[in-house]
């Protein structure tokens, strides 16, 4: 990108998709770098993140939610929270944002070939999982992975991200989608209850399987507990961590957990690593 690691490049918003409305609104932004050469050279692996800024309103880290098999654009799914995320929610197609990245480590999509993968997501935590799920589901990659299961839940049916995409996936034979919401709603035909409970109900076999979980810390905690109960080993369980971030490149000091910087040593960690990690989470 630029020689100054703090300076973003400009991208244009090509499309905005409303995923969730209301208090916890989520929109997915499709971004294309204004400099074609930069877009072409923008390579990432699912799990990596980018800093996006509505210029003048600060900057925030987001998981890239599109698959790296899509080379012409990248997508981020943004929950409206504070200053920058709210300003991003007010943008329109054609507007400009600043982009820095890609940052951090990534899911081991190469090493996990020929394995089954279970994706376990809650709320906005589905964003990085969508990237790797779509990567493994892409035509040219699908036969390189075993069974794929997506276990995903949110508080209400309105809070589910990527609803239309899940509806499409549910028609496919080569992936199983198990959705849930926290409390009963009229017309809801799938599981009612928390994501960790849905995981115990689905009972994915642990043999030759990788489990990846992203979501609120409390959900991750119980998902990991239940995965261990289902026979998964620490080395088979992966999650992403979140810390407040500024520079994204391991300099500003903000995002440390113990001696690791989540922006460069993370965000992806195995449970084996997490067990040895002593720090404030």
């Amino acid at each position: 990108m630029t020689e100054n690691p703090y300076q973003p490049v400009l991208a244009t918003i090509e499309k905005i998709k409303v995923e969730v409305t209301g208090e916890r609104a989520i929109k997915t932004f499709k971004l294309v770098m204004q400099d074609k050469k930069i877009q072409k050279e923008f390579n990432f692996v699912p799990g990596q993140c980018v800093m996006i800024s509505r210029l003048g309103k600060g900057e925030s880290m987001f998981a890239i939610s599109s698959s790296s098999t899509e080379k012409d654009y990248l997508e981020v799914s943004v929950m409206k929270q504070g200053i920058n995320t709210s300003a991003l929610h007010e943008t329109e197609v054609g507007d400009t944002v600043g982009v820095r990245g890609p940052y951090g480590n990534h899911f081991d999509v190469e090493g996990w070939k020929n394995k089954n993968i279970v994706f376990i997501g809650g709320g906005i935590g589905m964003a990085p999982l969508r990237s790797i799920a779509n990567y493994t589901l892409a035509d040219k990659n699908r036969d390189q992975y075993g069974n794929l299961d997506i276990i995903y839940g949110a508080r209400t049916s309105n809070d589910l991200c990527f609803k239309d995409e899940f509806a499409e996936l549910q028609k496919r034979e080569d992936v199983n989608v198990h959705l849930s919401i926290d409390v009963v709603e009229e017309g809801w035909e799938e599981f009612v209850g928390f994501v960790p409970s849905n995981l115990l109900r689905v009972k994915p076999p642990s043999k030759n399987t990788i489990a990846i979980t992203c979501g609120p810390p409390i959900m991750i905690k119980f998902v990991i507990q239940n995965l261990l109960e289902l026979g998964f080993k620490d080395e088979q369980i992966f999650t992403t961590l979140e810390m407040r971030m500024k520079c994204g490149v391991g300099i500003c000091g903000r995002c440390n957990i113990g001696n690791l910087y989540v922006c460069k040593d993370g965000p992806v960690f195995s449970n084996a690593q997490l067990k040895n990690l002593e720090g404030d989470l």
Binding site: T2, E3, N4, P5, Y6, Q7, P8, V9, L10, S53, R54, L55, G56, K57, G58, E59, Q81, G82, T85, T91, E92, D95, T96, G98, P217, E242, M243, R244, K246, C247, V249, G250, I251, C252, G253, R254, N256, I257, G258, N259, K264, E278, D280, L281
Partner: protein
């Protein structure tokens, strides 16, 4: 390495010559404290100091600094910041603070290079001044360093009564001296001995020792120890210890500007503040003062050794001198060192 001398008589003249071609930072007196400022004349300099209150990190890693310029908004643009290469000399930096730059280098010249710090660092000559009178909070010797160490500077001055002994430590230092060679003459062995005597005398004045041996391994087992809470109870969270520390480099990044003109800037920040880690959701990984006090000591004595093979403390003693509630890093770390686990 070359040893030279300059007489104190010629000293004002060399300073007044350097200022013509360099941005010369030197200790000056301000509000009863010492601080590094750009001087234009020898008379502004105050060499009666022990050390500056504000660490000289501020010269190369500015407290507030523009990262790039922009036109804010949804149709905004970005303008790179022009990086100025200004020939700079820092005179009378203490050996401990010069080491501080070496520690900061491990962060700013890591996997990613910070171009602003790099430009400042590359364009600066560090001219050290040995401490002949260390005080009761100094403990650079705990790390195997000396108050008259030339290891981290380009040139080291030592006051040996009528003259300064001038040790040229690096190529950069040599180039600098060459420009002003007429002021210097070769040192005799007597003068070199005089420096060594001063150094031994100064080392003898350092009475306190922080027992660094095995401290990292000890801390690996002490994350949940009540000692952090004990010190957190005293701490008022003012952040002085981090702002004034030569090796603390945490910064915030913010957008500043008007409707049509803006910049992203960075400003020093401190891990001693609760806002430092709080997420927008309200979740705070370091909610209690204990978490923050613990992080500060772990950062210096455990995380830095793990990541960069160096303890991020130079023994400058500022955090001891200026902590309003007298939290003493030597006392605390020695308790850690001696802890029976």
């Amino acid at each position: 390495m070359e040893s030279l001398i300059i007489s104190k008589e010629k000293f004002p003249e060399i300073i007044n010559t350097i200022v013509k071609s360099y941005r010369l930072f030197a200790p000056t007196e301000e509000n009863g404290f010492s601080g590094f400022n750009i001087i234009k004349d020898y008379s502004e300099m105050d060499l009666s100091y022990l050390n500056s209150r504000m660490p000289p990190k501020a010269i190369l890693f500015n407290q507030t600094e523009t990262l790039f310029l922009m036109e804010p908004g949804t149709k905004g643009t970005i303008k790179p910041k022009e990086i100025r290469n200004e020939k700079t000399a820092i005179f009378a930096i203490r050996p401990c603070d010069a080491k501080g730059f070496r520690i900061l280098d491990t962060v700013f010249f890591g996997d990613v290079v910070d171009p602003l710090y790099k430009a400042n660092r590359d364009n600066s000559v560090l001219i050290g001044l040995s401490c002949n009178q260390p005080d009761s909070s100094c403990f650079c010797t705990s790390f195997g360093d000396s108050p008259a160490s030339g290891k981290y500077v380009d040139i080291l001055f030592t006051d040996i009564e009528e003259n300064y002994l001038v040790e040229v430590m690096t190529e950069k230092g040599k180039d600098f001296i060459n420009d002003f060679s007429r002021f210097f003459s070769p040192a005799s062995s007597k003068e070199i001995e005089a420096k060594n005597a001063k150094e031994q005398e100064a080392i003898g004045l350092i009475k306190r020792n922080l027992k660094v041996e095995g401290i990292e391994e000890k801390m690996d087992k002490m994350f949940d120890h009540p000692i952090w809470e004990e010190y957190a109870k005293k701490c008022i969270g003012c952040g002085a210890c981090t702002y004034l520390c030569m090796t603390c480099r945490c910064f915030d990044m913010l957008d500043e500007g008007t409707l049509d003109k803006g910049a992203r800037i960075r400003v020093w920040d401190s891990c001693m503040f609760p806002e430092y880690t709080i997420h927008t959701s309200g979740h705070n990984p370091r909610p209690a003062r204990m978490n923050r006090v613990r992080n500060r000591f772990y950062c210096k004595y455990s995380y830095f050794p793990k990541n960069s093979d160096v303890i991020a403390c130079t023994g400058c003693g500022r955090c001891i001198r200026y902590c309003p509630v007298n939290i003493d890093i030597i006392e605390l770390m020695n308790r850690v060192s001696e802890m029976e686990l």
